[in-house]
Symmetry: C2
Subunit: 379 residues, 2 copies
């Protein structure tokens, strides 16, 4: 086992109607609230009204920034931060999935440190403090509600990258499974892929952490059991709850304790696809993971077979990859670039983008030849 620090100060409120506790949580930070959300689905499903009711109940002054995209842009964070600075806000309330919460984290840092958000993302400015953040989750996927990570893309620098800091943990997160009832089937599936991929990034990290391996098994088995069920019954509270809680645990530290790091090579590959084609994050992962595993099969056969042992009993590395791919496919998530209409004509563009961004894992290093092979395996 590697030395590690386990620290997660987010207070997470889980269950039906937990947003009724938002007032109590929010009011201790002040009255000037920057409310951040996406493209407005929260107005259709009533979540916006419930959050506003909580904020108005202590006479909060609510400043809104909306329109954040599902592959979030640094431009939005820039604008939100300007708005926040101008209004001298006390607190950010982020209502949405990972893209909104990630954007809110960097907005908070940008305001509090009076700096350009991209300078933070690129480690050019080390943030010293932040603005308190409360998250209301509407999509089970990224785990951003209980971690310090954020991913943004920048079309000027041609990048989609991540940034982590212990300053980024939300003070409170509210997870009501009913808030995910209206998530469409495809995005529900992408969320299940995402939580599985987060667990796998941990599993293929560095360090002998057997309890953590068993936690990975627990989370992926939960996804394998309840993923198909939630897709059949999207308004089943129990199924939504199980997937929501599994997604949080896949990236709140639990799948990484005792390791030096996770690998994160597959996420790195996926970010390129999202950047180039605006492909939803989870969809890029169900395409990239099988390809990555096929590349690694002869390099780390025992580790892949160990994953198989955890998930399926005694099966080979090949069979493990095959079953995982079938699982993603059974959810309706793409497993090949051709499934999302990306043909051979784009192959060279993807390879060049991966070379340019030096797409890599933290543990299993990829060279240009590997990058090329992975793209071929994704076709």
């Amino acid at each position: 086992m590697e030395n590690f620090t386990a620290y997660n100060p987010t207070k997470l409120h889980f269950g039906k109607d937990v947003v009724e506790q938002l007032r109590e949580a929010a009011q201790e930070y002040g009255k000037k609230v920057l409310l951040m959300y996406g493209k407005g689905s929260i107005k259709k499903n009533g979540i916006y009204g419930q959050v506003i009711k909580q904020l108005k109940s202590f006479n909060a002054e609510v400043i809104e920034y909306s329109g954040i995209k599902s592959n979030p842009l640094v431009d939005d964070v820039n604008e939100a931060a300007q708005l926040g600075k101008l209004n001298n806000i006390d607190l950010i309330v982020a209502v949405g999935g990972g893209s909104v919460i990630d954007s809110a984290k960097i907005t908070a840092l940008s305001i509090a440190n009076n700096t350009n958000p991209w300078a933070i993302m690129k480690f050019k400015v080390k943030p010293k403090t932040t603005i308190p953040l409360i998250a209301v989750l509407t999509l089970a996927a990224t785990g951003s509600e209980m971690n310090g990570a954020a991913v943004l893309q920048n079309h000027k620098t041609d990048e989609k990258i991540g940034f982590s800091s212990s300053l980024n943990f939300p003070k409170h997160s509210f997870l009501d499974p009913t808030y995910t009832f209206s998530v469409p089937k495809d995005y529900t599936a992408y969320g299940i892929v995402d939580l599985t991929a987060h667990s796998l990034e941990g599993f293929f990290g560095e360090g002998d952490a057997t309890l953590t391996d068993r936690f990975v098994e627990a989370i992926i088995k939960e996804a394998m059991e309840y993923g198909p069920k939630v897709l059949s019954e999207p308004e089943n509270y129990e199924y939504r709850a199980k997937i929501m809680w599994a997604a949080t645990n896949a990236l709140n530290g639990l799948t990484n304790y005792g390791r030096k790091s996770g690998d994160w090579g597959v996420h790195s590959i996926g970010h390129n696809l999202s950047y180039l084609f605006d492909t939803p994050h989870g969809a890029t992962l169900s395409i990239a993971y099988p390809a990555w595993l096929k590349l690694q099969k002869d390099r780390i056969p025992e580790r892949i077979a160990k994953l198989g042992e955890h998930l399926y009993g005694n099966v080979s590395a090949d069979e493990t990859i095959n079953r995982l791919e079938k699982f993603f496919q059974s959810l309706g998530s793409p497993i090949k670039l051709s499934d999302i209409g990306i043909g051979e004509d784009k192959k060279e563009i993807i390879i060049q983008q991966m070379i340019k961004t030096e797409t890599n894992g933290m543990v299993h290093k990829l060279n240009d030849d590997d990058r090329k092979k992975i793209v071929e395996l994704m076709m």
Copy 2:
């Protein structure tokens, strides 16, 4: 799934030589430190010297309270709190296992709220604040290093009871597996029983929390795999590390999220045995759990078989109980009262103590007839 709050603000530092970070953690709270520990084994194995070195490095004024027993007494807490008040301390550093850390938690509350510790334990005074606590763990067992619980006994009121509060979380905990190398075989075994029992108390709680059930499986399987190994090789770093981390996870919230509560009936039974005969906590649990399961076998056969499915594949409730009992026995922990020299002549005393203290579970309720049956099953 039941509604729940997941919140655990302890910053836990795990691994070899992590105590070298104690100075940095401690110095932000002030210079007057109450150092609490047990009967002095930390002076023999060098841990005392390492902790003192860290505290002296920032010129802390160290006031010591030692001699805390393995079934900790409220009298010690009372004295430690007097000493702490008299010296106007800023911080408590607890070096030991659960008994020392539990005592330190209530000492901190008693000082900060200027009240009698037993009044807190009995919910007669609601504590509003506390003194910061840092734990240095020397025994893998109770999980006290990363939770808000504390158990004390009181010979005046004839009780051994628990108290939980979110104020009780240590600010920092330092877990160096080498600090457990010198734990004797019997106490190592009791710790493995304790962590298994904590996981089971969660499993037999109320609420359909399948991911939490899988986490319980993960933790107990880790104990079943590495428990026997650490007993064979007590100075094997990896084995000690695996058991230490498993013990923390068995009672840091993870085995309870999504449930209304755990059961805790077996702990309640065990506390009576510790109270009457000063039996080590873990030893009481390896005696009480099989008995409790035998009593519950016809009441919750499916749940016990479900545990068997998680741990052993497809086995019956009877076989599950049999295998768990054999596991405890294989560790060298007693599974009958006769194993620790308690004979038939004590039967009535135990029954009467359990009736007097209204020994019960939070979910699976016990009446006097059940209490009697359990004692008979423990003989």
